[in-house]
């Protein structure tokens, strides 16, 4: 390996030296001179009207600088908008404080700003709110019934949207044919549930707003995953010109999508800082984090698959009911839409129908969470594949083989309108089966069962439509933001490079990755590339930021900016070498005469010096050696793969023990294998949490019962198995480098893989693991019912 072959290298992370020393800087670590602290009074009720709020005592308490009730919010302040507004979707926004009524436990009702967080919390106790209880509705199906309590009166009912996918693709090959279901040799039905859970970054949300009265500028220290869009929305909501707002994003302690959204506290700290002229800081404690940071995933799905008796799929149709929570959040019903788009998965399904219904409930709003509806769609598809296999007496691997899209069929237009750019699905399946020693484990399974060991094998294949996204497609989907990613690369007069990116590192190693890409294409040492991120004053605008597994999009922007720099370096080098530009080439950080017997070349540093001296620039070239490229991808990139899980079920306790976990992942060429492994491990662990442990539990009154880590169980060291990762590499045909998104893919298959394995382990009892999370108590109950 030469020193410049950075793509594909297990390069150590440049993020690490600060973080392992405890020298990272997270929002909670930022203490500006004169900082005041905010605490939020939150609704203790699931559904109630607010008769009055009396904050008179709190306002007079020692150390209190301001109390914000709805009456204290200036009239010109507007709600944050919903960014993804599908046609037919109800309209709502994100208010700073509850307006007249509370709709979920945790909804902000008032805020106190004081000398310390301790003093602010003391004052919350002195605020008297007179609530009048309203009937709550917490079950999404009950919320859809006639006569259910209406949560948002201006909607008229609790239906945020009915969105129908009815067999469509750009080639006109797909359709919905109900008769095919009536006439099919076999139909299989399933009713599936996914529990409410979320990303739960270990760092809670937090924000510091710092208003500079003299310059009329608001500086916000935030963990937004999409700082530029946040700047746009914050300025609009506050009635400020966008030039007046600067968003700084320091180290982030995990985001997982949850920090993509805008939140009431963003407005509240800004309002307070502008009123008081001092920095105002708010850091969520864990309890309020669990009740006020967006939830996700909760769905009830009903599917029907039609098949020939040989296992060929003739159609898939279903209904997805999304438990939306109290109101639409930043991405609207987007995740549920993605579920409908992803459910055809890896299979040749032309006859497709899916009715996506989002139902308002008296719960925390559900919105952005790693995977964004995709894992839910894969759960539905892959559980149905296993149900079909079982009905037909086929091996679960065989029914997948029979229906998979073949490697020569790309681009594939799925029946929900998505276009898969590339992949080799059968290769992923076969590699995973081989790595898991599938045939041997199947054989052993029978013997073990006779000994009372209930071993199950679960397969889940997946597609992940990543690299959001072509902006015109976002426009077509009424997603009011752009999907491009920009990068500015500057080579300084000494020949060292700086990359400016709008991507927000959340912990996934973005800084390292982009430095690798830039160093590789510039042909210089990685140590000679600096990456600047986290400051909207310095970095290119991005409307999408760190979401949708988009490092691949940002990487292309870097590559193309570097290519422009190299072209300019060659033009400048031509003058220096007294040669024609077309006789020159750029390689390994040098501009050289092609094929010259004696090496005639100039270094990037020498060229850069000329570019800044500007004594003899080529005609038409300006001084400096820098370029900006904004890359808007022509299509999504389709990552794919297959997971195979082997586990044992203890029928006495409902406890699951993993025996093997095999992953085959195709994210195209890998930029840094170390980081890719880390992303896959983390994604799988997060999904195993949702498959086995994590669930926000509400009672019938809308009371959230899981408000600590004693009740909301995160996977620990002993809950997550060792994973074995293999790769199949099919480069994306339309992106430079062929990279595909990979930060989310780990979250897609584990739910179905585990549920399929549990069902397989208990096939003698006929137990179907159709509800996530499969907690020991839930599974024990299923076993009891089956053996009764």
């Amino acid at each position: 390996m030469t020193t410049t072959e950075w793509i594909g290298a297990r390069a150590p992370r440049r993020e690490d030296p600060a973080l392992i020393r405890g020298r990272g800087r997270y929002v909670a670590d930022i203490n500006l001179p004169g900082t005041l602290h905010m605490a939020i009074l939150r609704s203790p009720m699931g559904h109630a009207s607010i008769n009055s709020i009396d904050a008179s005592e709190a306002r007079t308490m020692d150390g209190v600088h301001m109390v914000i009730t709805p009456d204290d919010i200036p009239d010109h302040i507007t709600q944050f908008p919903v960014v993804w507004r599908l046609p037919g979707q109800k309209d709502s926004g994100i208010p700073a404080l509850a307006e007249g009524k509370v709709r979920y436990v945790g909804e902000p009702v008032a805020a106190v700003v004081a000398d310390s967080r301790y003093a602010a919390e003391d004052a919350l106790d002195a605020i008297d709110v007179d609530y009048e209880t309203l009937d709550p509705v917490t079950d999404p199906e009950a919320a859809l019934e006639e006569g259910a309590p209406v949560i948002n009166e201006d909607w008229g009912d609790n239906v945020a949207i009915h969105h129908v996918f009815a067999g469509y693709n750009a080639l006109g090959e797909c359709h919905y044919d109900a008769e095919a279901f009536d006439n099919a040799e076999v139909t299989v039905r399933g009713r599936l549930k996914i529990g409410r859970h979320s990303g739960i970054p270990l760092e809670t949300r937090g924000i510091v707003a710092d208003w500079d009265e003299i310059h009329g500028r608001l500086t916000v220290h935030s963990e937004s995953q999409v700082a530029h869009l946040f700047r746009t929305e914050l300025a609009a909501s506050l009635g400020l010109p966008e030039t007046a707002v600067r968003v700084l994003t320091p180290n982030m302690g995990g985001g997982f999508g949850n920090k993509w959204d805008r939140y009431p506290e963003d407005l509240l700290v800004s309002i307070a800082s502008m009123e008081l002229g001092r920095p105002v800081k708010w850091i969520a404690d864990r309890r309020e984090g669990l009740m006020s940071t967006v939830h996700g995933r909760a769905q009830v799905q009903e599917w029907e698959m039609a098949l020939q008796s040989d296992g060929t799929i003739l159609g898939l149709r279903g209904k997805v009911i999304n438990d939306l929570g109290a109101h639409l959040h930043s991405v609207g019903i987007g995740p549920a839409w993605v579920t409908g788009a992803a459910a055809p998965n890896q299979y040749k399904i032309a006859n497709y129908y899916c009715n996506v219904i989002a139902a308002a409930t008296n719960k925390t709003p559900a919105s952005t969470f790693r995977g964004f509806g995709g894992p839910e769609g894969i759960f539905g598809a892959e559980r149905m594949m296993d149900k079909a296999a079982k009905r037909l007496g086929m091996d679960p691997a065989e029914i997948r083989r029979k229906n998979m899209i073949q490697p020569d069929q790309f681009p594939w237009f799925n029946a929900a309108g998505a276009v898969y750019d590339s992949g080799n699905f059968p290769a992923c399946l076969e590699k995973a089966l081989e790595a898991a020693d599938y045939d041997r484990v199947r054989a052993e399974q029978k013997e073990l069962r006779e000994q009372g060991v209930y071993r199950g094998i679960g397969i889940s294949s997946y597609i992940h439509v990543s690299g959001f996204g072509p902006s015109p497609i976002l426009g077509y989907l009424s997603y009011y933001t752009g999907g491009y990613e920009g990068s500015t690369v500057k080579v300084d007069p000494n020949g060292k490079a700086t990359v400016y990116t709008g991507m927000i590192p959340m912990g996934q190693g973005t800084e390292t990755t982009l430095a690798q890409v830039a160093a590789h294409h510039l042909g210089i040492d990685m140590a000679d590339v600096r990456v600047v991120w986290g400051d909207t004053d310095q970095t290119p605008y991005t409307g999408f930021g760190s979401a949708g597994s988009r490092s691949n999009v940002a990487a292309v922007a870097v590559i193309r900016a570097v290519e422009e720099i190299k072209a300019k370096a060659v033009r400048i080098g031509a003058g220096m070498l007294e040669a024609d530009a077309e006789d020159l080439e750029y390689a390994d950080g040098m501009v050289s005469v092609k094929g010259a017997e004696e090496m005639r070349s100039v270094s990037l540093a020498q060229v850069a010096q000329q570019a800044y001296w500007a004594h003899a620039l080529p005609e038409g070239d300006q001084p400096f050696l820098e370029a900006t490229y904004v890359y808007d991808p022509p299509n999504f990139t389709t990552a794919s793969g297959c997971h195979v899980v082997v586990l044992d079920v203890d029928t006495n306790t409902g406890r699951i023990t993993f025996r093997n976990y095999v992953i085959v992942d195709d994210c195209g060429p890998v930029i840094n294998p170390l980081l890719v492994e880390g992303q896959i491990h983390g994604g799988v662990a997060q999904a195993l949490g949702g498959a086995l442990l994590e669930e926000f539990v509400y009672d019938d009154e809308g009371q959230l019962l899981t408000t600590s880590f004693m009740d909301y169980l995160l996977p620990s060291f002993t809950d997550v198995p060792d994973m074995e990762i293999h790769h199949v590499v099919t480069p994306s045909p339309h992106t430079d480098g062929g990279f595909k998104g990979m930060g989310e893919a780990g979250t897609f298959p584990p739910g179905a893989a585990v549920a399929n394995a549990v069902t397989d382990a208990l096939s003698h009892l006929g137990v179907e693991a159709d509800e996530l999370p499969i907690t020991p108590s839930r599974l024990w109950s299923l076993i009891q019912e089956a053996t009764r």
Binding site: I20, G22, Y26, I200, P201, G678, H681, F717
Partner: protein
Amino acid sequence: MAQVAITLNVNGRNQTTLAEPREILADVLRDRLGLTGTHLGCEHGVCGACTVLLDGEMVRSCLLFAVQAQGAEITTIEGLEENGELHPMQKAFSEYHGLQCGFCTPGMILAGIDLLKRNPDPTAEEVRDDMGGNVCRCTGYQKIVESVLGAAREMNEVTS
């Protein structure tokens, strides 16, 4: 609320600060002494992000009032580097990719050091059992286990 003087020996230095008796140790370390490497992930003793060593024992600084630590010797993540040399556990976390966002990392590193003090040559299973009191949301734990095992090998080589 009235403040009291608290003297702590933090990372080898005696430091005296005023704080309210109700202030937790983590808040005093972070906000009064400026040692922000100790992170707060849950403030109820489950996640382990705020782990520090108190008189050599691993404790959760969110579950102690600072006044309870009066006169104690405390080691935080900032105190591990000696004469510009990182602790082998710190190096191993970077080498084996045992961290992503870095928020749990100070607690994880201290928990790993505490484990090796009691069990210098643990198996992977022992690492998983012992460190179950620290939560990571990013890594899926596998590379943290590899980091701790790697640090153990490194430390055993040096001492043998």
